[in-house]
């Protein structure tokens, strides 16, 4: 297994975009970030073609011609962003454009024509659900078929490629504002920067990529609202997740006997996912370290809130917290 940066794939895109936008009479700049994100080599080798496809789509279907853009008060230069980043056990690649976005009516019409959904079904679907139909085989809404795209083979193959790699792809779009394709890819093995924390006798790590910051707050900052413990944090209130409860950590009963007084401060890991933030309460922070993350094996792959484990210097095992799952669990 060998890790490589996505730069290897990304570095050919700028010239490709320049050439393509010239061909199509569009004015497009591309913003690339996260080129140093690492992925398994075998995955890198596969993602080039589907990414090219998505970028072509963004320019051909997404970005409008300069005169149209002028009419709708957008800068004449269209913008395509390509961003790779690492979160939890996955690498994400987002491709967004600030073009025309997807027209709900057109997708609906096409989907009904192709017998993908019934008329009544179509009306009741959310935009998000409806737009995922673009990945169905034989689906194309481009009114004009061009050399570059719109021939109806494509997005289904793109989706298939990512799924074969154990990944996922979704599309989000707002008409008039643009579209975003989000790809999630597995890591298989990785070295991550992890912050270790202690909870009673147990030690856990959390990838620093999932952390916004750590905080130590007095008990007075905790309030109960609608049955949920919240933390007052930087002028906002965010829910508190007690790691002890989420992971059912056995509580050491001797603490009181040893004459420990209850601490007046609590340590929190502030995490955020999908605009939802939360404070994970722990006993104490230990320190930051680069570690090799090991998978948990088949029978523990479904364990909630944990994405892997690492072996500490003294040979003991520490689990890696997946804050994303803890946040989602809380939402339910």
């Amino acid at each position: 297994m060998r890790m490589m940066t996505v730069e290897r794939v990304f570095n050919r895109f700028p010239s490709m975009i320049r050439k393509l936008s010239k061909e199509l009479g569009k004015d497009v700049v591309i913003d690339i970030s996260g080129q140093d994100t690492e992925l398994d080599r075998s995955i890198i080798d596969e993602i080039g073609d589907p990414l090219v496809h998505l970028l072509r789509n963004a320019i051909d279907h997404g970005i409008e011609t300069p005169d149209v853009r002028k009419l709708v008060d957008k800068p004449e230069k269209g913008r395509v962003t390509l961003e790779a980043y690492h979160r939890g056990n996955h690498v994400y690649i987002d491709i967004s454009d600030d073009g025309a976005g997807i027209n709900r009516e057109r997708v609906m019409k096409k989907a009904i024509e192709n017998n993908l959904i019934s008329e009544s079904d179509a009306a009741s679907r959310s935009d998000f659900d409806l737009f995922q139909l673009l990945f169905a085989p034989g689906f194309s809404t481009a009114e004009e078929v061009t050399d570059v795209s719109g021939r109806g083979v494509g997005l289904d193959v793109v989706k298939q490629t990512f799924e074969q790699l154990g990944g996922k792809i979704i599309i989000q779009s707002e008409e008039g504002k643009g579209s975003t394709f989000s790809i999630q890819l597995p890591l298989t093995l990785s070295i991550m920067d992890v912050l270790f924390i202690q909870c009673e006798e147990e030690i856990y790590g959390i990838p620093t990529s999932q952390l916004i910051e750590t905080a130590i707050a007095p008990h007075e900052d905790k309030i109960v609202m609608q049955g949920q413990v919240m933390l007052q944090y930087r002028g906002q209130i965010i829910p508190v997740i007690e790691l002890k409860e989420a992971f059912q950590v056995p509580v050491r009963s001797t603490a009181a006997e040893e004459g420990h007084f209850e601490d007046t401060f609590t340590s929190y890991l502030i995490v955020k996912h999908d605009k939802k933030a939360a404070a994970i309460a722990v006993d104490q922070f230990i320190g930051q370290q680069d570690v090799v993350i090991k998978p948990l094996g088949k029978r523990l792959s479904t364990v909630r809130g944990i994405s892997g484990a690492t072996i500490l210097g003294n040979g003991t095992i520490a689990f890696i917290i997946d804050a994303t799952q803890l946040l989602e669990e809380r939402g339910r």
């Binding site: 147990e202 989420a246 992971f247 059912q248 950590v249 056995p250 090991k294 998978p295 948990l296 094996g297 088949k298 029978r299 523990l300 479904t302 364990v303 909630r304 809130g305 944990i306 484990a309 072996i311 040979g315 003991t316 095992i317 520490a318 689990f319």
Partner: protein, 138 residues
């Protein structure tokens, strides 16, 4: 062929030694939060994260306590290592292949208990043949 003898939940078992990866002394088992039933934790076996299950079946904590005889038997199936707790293991028997296969065949008509795929009579004692495949199925 050789069979490893072990005691689990007070009963005598044997298992084909070729299925066994190693036998480890009991060591610190790291608890897995929200673990599936039966899984008591993971241990680090020479750098490999190994899931440990306890299928001894005794509900009382007293009989499930670890003693100096308690061992972890490690088996491996397609790079998915797994260990299970036994109360004691002390013998390896050498027997005729034929006897083992006869016992398995005779068992095919029987209604099976969990973790059993036959019985054998070795050195004047009856043993259950441990069905380690069922550990991976559950």
């Amino acid at each position: 062929m050789k069979l490893l003898q072990f005691i689990m939940g007070g009963e005598q078992y044997v298992v084909d030694v070729l299925a066994i990866h190693s036998v480890e002394n009991i060591q610190d088992i790291t608890r897995v939060p929200n673990a599936p039933e039966g899984v008591i934790g993971v241990i680090n076996v020479r750098g490999l994260m190994t899931t440990i299950v306890d299928v001894r079946g005794n509900q009382s904590e007293e009989t499930n306590a670890y003693t100096k005889d308690t061992r972890i038997v490690l088996i491996e199936d397609q790079n998915d290592p797994l260990g299970f707790i036994v109360d004691q293991t002390s013998n390896v028997f050498t027997i005729e292949d034929q006897l083992y296969h006869q016992a398995l065949e005779a068992n095919e008509q029987e209604e099976n208990r969990q973790y059993s795929c036959g019985v054998m009579y070795i050195h004047e004692q009856w043993y259950t043949i441990f069905d380690y495949h069922s550990l991976f199925r559950s």
